[in-house]
């Protein structure tokens, strides 16, 4: 699996840097965006995943929002492209299970994207002399959000396997993600609060809000529960993807356009 992850990292890196101008353009846009945040965060609207109006909250909010959108769309978009280019069938001729291959791919593209963003951020921090605070304890709720996002990503990937073209659905889903990340379920009471805990990513995002915007200490129990829910969505996503691939084989339309 490590060999596979390394190979996917290399492939993703080469594909994204094959045309230097395209790659530089991407880095330039990301740099400009974050630089603008640092120069005038107070003039910029809060991100959809709002964790307060401090600079570090806004930056982390934007990073999380863009990452979640990227993760959720990644597998489905990759699948649609590979079906069009004809490489999907070759990929599925592997002794590795499709779930493992697409997990390695998703991790590789996430790692590359994170590395790019963090490098740009570090350069901006040095240039502007700014500082960002990110307590290590926040890694737990952050992980729960990322796991939930991957769960949704594999579910979207399953739909792409079954329905082939789901671009419009992915656009609509962004509104759903906005709801999941921005809904303050930590303020809910009674049965809605209990039900809200089972939404993907919502509990993790709520914890990030409480700690970063409201200055509260991290609730260990709720963080554990959020992680559990994230893990649950992740496992369900993998199971859906495995089922969709088998169903595609049964229908005889796997990898065809």
């Amino acid at each position: 699996m490590i060999e596979l992850l390394k190979a996917e990292l290399k492939r993703t890196w080469i594909q994204s840097t094959r045309y230097p101008l395209e790659a530089l353009g991407r880095i330039f846009i990301t740099t400009c965006f974050f630089y603008a945040l640092f120069l005038g965060s107070k003039y910029i609207a809060e991100p959809p995943a709002s964790f307060g109006n401090r600079l570090d909250s806004i930056v982390i909010g934007y990073i999380l929002w863009t990452l979640v959108i990227f993760i959720v769309n990644d597998i489905a978009i990759t699948l649609q492209i590979e079906v069009q280019t004809g490489t999907l069938q070759q990929v599925l001729l592997s002794p590795y299970e499709p779930v493992k291959i697409f997990l390695a791919r998703a991790l590789a593209s996430l790692l590359l994207r994170l590395t790019t963003i963090i490098t740009i951020l570090l350069i901006i921090l040095v240039l502007t002399g700014s500082q960002l605070a990110f307590p290590i304890s926040l890694l737990l709720p952050l992980l729960s959000v990322i796991l939930g996002a991957y769960g949704l990503a594999f579910m979207m990937g399953s739909l792409a396997v079954l329905l082939k073209r789901i671009q419009q659905l992915l656009v609509i889903l962004q509104f759903g993600l906005l709801f999941l990340l921005a809904t303050p379920i930590e303020d809910w009471q009674g049965i809605p609060a209990l039900l809200g805990l089972w939404l993907p990513m919502t509990a993790g995002a709520g914890l990030l809000r409480q700690v970063m915007a409201q200055g509260m200490a991290l609730d260990g129990f709720r963080a554990g529960l959020a992680l559990l829910v994230g893990l649950l969505y992740f496992i369900v996503g993998l199971a859906c993807f495995r089922w969709a691939v088998n169903h595609g084989k049964q229908q005889g339309n796997l990898g065809t356009y």
């Binding site: 190979a7 004809g86 490489t87 070759q90 001729l93 592997s94 005889g252």
Partner: protein
């Protein structure tokens, strides 16, 4: 033990309220080092069968065994086959040949190191070493096809599935790929080849299996098929026109006069000498035993089963 044993494969698809039988009771076997040409018109069921063997389409009934093991029960078996399914569309176009080979090597279960070594060997074998750092999108179609075949061979699989490996290639590239296919089989790998280029099948294939409307209608060697469908017809071309007397004699000997300088007759070799006696001493241009070619055999078989 056979490298490939596909038994009684059956696949139907639903199209609206109808069920369409794509493949019905198809069985194929391949021994080590053998080339089986799997022929059929478009929509006959070739690609569905090949994809069932490759584990990409699950058969409704029947079983596939590669080196005795079931790819549907054990996905590691997929590491024992290589395939070129959609020509040059198998490759990542932004990657170079060496990068494609290395990536697919790891995907087939090789380590990075072994994958790189094999990639270098294959680039040499396919005479692509000078293009190792050129992105695939900038290679000619023939070179892309060679890279696609090399990718299918990266993990040295005992079974190779080649679906239209020479589609759209020029004469030179087709010849090069034909030579490579023969070399691969000589090295002990089994090849299931689907193609519409029947001249290639005549020279390459050890056996031929023809599928029509989802069913195998014949399986034999190319030589036997051609013999079976060839009548012992002789064709003689003359340098001068026949005179009337000879024409009458030939007609009474059941010789077909195509024109005044060309005759043909479907008889035994003895009849050839009787005819030559009639023609003596007219100068001859050509005496040829005419045989059916695989294209004629294929068309006849398919039409007979319509």
């Amino acid at each position: 033990m056979s490298t490939l044993m596909a038994s009684h494969l059956h696949k139907t698809y639903r199209s609206g309220r109808q069920r369409i039988t794509a493949v019905n009771d198809v069985s194929l076997t391949l021994k080590s080092g053998e080339i089986l040409a799997f022929l059929g018109a478009n929509g006959a069921g070739k690609t569905t069968t090949v994809k069932m063997i490759a584990g990409l389409i699950r058969p409704d009934r029947g079983q596939v065994r590669i080196e005795g093991r079931d790819p549907y029960q054990d996905t590691s078996v997929l590491g024992w086959l290589g395939a070129v399914l959609e020509g040059n569309r198998n490759l990542y176009w932004r990657l170079t040949p060496i990068q494609n080979l290395e990536y697919f090597g790891v995907l087939r279960g090789l380590s990075q190191r072994v994958s790189r070594q094999r990639a270098e060997q294959l680039l040499d074998q396919f005479q692509l070493a000078h293009k190792r750092q050129t992105p695939v999108e900038k290679l000619s179609r023939g070179m892309q096809q060679k890279v696609a075949i090399a990718v299918a061979l990266i993990h040295h699989p005992p079974l190779l599935l080649l679906d239209e490996p020479t589609l759209g290639l020029d004469v030179e590239s087709t010849q090069q790929i034909k030579s490579r296919i023969r070399e691969i089989a000589n090295a002990g790998q089994s090849i299931l080849l689907t193609t519409h280029q029947l001249d290639m099948v005549e020279t390459l294939a050890d056996r031929v299996s023809i599928i029509h409307r989802g069913e195998i209608i014949v399986e034999s060697t190319p030589k036997q098929l051609i013999q079976q469908f060839s009548s012992a017809t002789y064709r003689i071309e003359l340098a001068e026109p026949l005179d009337t007397e000879r024409m009458i004699k030939l007609q009474s000997s059941q010789v077909t006069i195509i024109d005044t300088q060309t005759i043909s007759f479907a008889h035994t070799p003895e009849k050839l000498y009787q005819t030559l006696d009639i023609l003596r001493p007219l100068p001859l241009i050509l005496v040829k035993k005419e045989e059916a070619d695989l294209t004629q055999v294929f068309l006849k078989l398919v039409r007979d089963h319509d």
